[in-house]
């Protein structure tokens, strides 16, 4: 068995799915964000694996930008969570249900 990009893709598909399930079943917004981070990492793995397979730098460039986006997302998301938590001592997303839907 030789290491091929396909290994990366398969692994990232698994991590992506786990992250997606996590976003769906967890109620704590912070853990939901973490699961989103998992998904982003899965994407990064895909990019790197593909870049390696295609022998092309672009995939790695994409990872760089994804990292920036992830950082920005966390900043914004956590700011909102902090703002919300300051008003109410709640940790789970479905406790926050003033709005129906």
């Amino acid at each position: 068995m030789e290491l091929t990009p396909m290994w990366y893709l398969a692994l990232s598909a698994m991590v992506f799915s786990i992250g997606a399930v996590g976003v769906l079943i967890r109620r704590n917004p912070l853990i939901m964000f973490m699961c989103v981070e998992l998904m982003l990492n899965a994407v990064n793995l895909t990019f790197v694996g593909l870049a390696w397979g295609r022998n092309d730098i672009d995939g790695m460039v994409a990872v760089f930008f994804v990292l920036v986006v992830a950082a920005a997302e966390v900043v914004v998301g956590l700011a909102i969570v902090v703002a919300i938590m300051r008003r109410r001592d709640l940790a789970t997303a479905d406790d926050i249900s003033v709005l129906r839907g």
């Binding site: 996590g22 967890r26 704590n28 699961c35 790197v48 397979g53 700011a79």
Partner: protein, 213 residues
């Protein structure tokens, strides 16, 4: 050897992500997340993406997860979540089902793909194994720099915009606000003290995951 390292890293990554999925305590989840991120960094190293591995650790582990933990500690929301309660009846099986479906679909799609090889049309200037004049292989960080500040310079500029937005947003959200707050609606208060009726009038409760794939 590479295969062995990959497998070890993959196990670390998978165990970490399952840990995030199942950890009751947010702090533990964050620790599992670090584990995953670290594994991913190792996977980056295997394919000689040194720079990415380093910034993966610096940005993710050094900043993002720290921020998570910081917020958890600051807000004191590190109470454990009772995972045995399904928030919405049937949501969890459904979520697992859709997760499984995503995975299945992706794997099935990947199965149809030809081996991923360098494309004949690929630009040699962008090849990862490019060598410089002296025949030495160009480090990935140099290549990344050339590409980011060359071909992708606009994207790089946009990240500046993006980060500005994030900073402005964070400042707005964090700023102390003067004046009276509008009351938190009854339903929210009721929910926080765990009154029974909240489960009734929330026939369709807030659910972040309803619109999944």
């Amino acid at each position: 050897m590479q295969e062995f390292v990959f497998l070890v890293a993959a196990i670390i990554v998978l165990a970490g992500s399952v840990g995030v999925l199942l950890a009751k305590n947010p702090v533990h989840a964050a620790l599992f997340l670090i584990q995953t991120l670290f594994g991913v960094a190792v996977l980056f190293l295997i394919v000689e993406a040194h720079f990415l591995a380093a910034i993966q650790v610096i940005v993710y582990a050094g900043a993002i997860v720290i921020l998570f933990l910081f917020v958890i500690m600051l807000l004191g929301v590190d109470k454990s979540e009772d995972l045995s309660v399904d928030p919405i009846v049937g949501q969890r099986p459904l979520a697992f089902l859709s997760g499984g479906a995503i995975l299945g679909l992706l794997l099935a799609l990947l199965n149809t793909v030809d081996p991923i090889e360098p494309l004949p049309s690929a630009d040699p200037a962008r090849a990862l194994d490019r060598t410089d004049a002296s025949g030495q292989r160009v480090a990935d960080v140099n290549q990344l720099a050339e590409t980011i500040f060359g071909e992708h310079v606009l994207a790089f500029e946009i990240t500046g915009l993006l980060l500005t937005v994030a900073v402005v947003g964070a400042v707005v959200m964090a700023r102390k606000i003067s004046g009276d707050l509008q009351p938190v609606p009854e339903s929210a208060l009721a929910a926080s003290v765990g009154l029974e009726e909240t489960s009734d009038d929330d026939a369709e409760p807030a659910d972040a995951g309803e619109g999944d794939a």
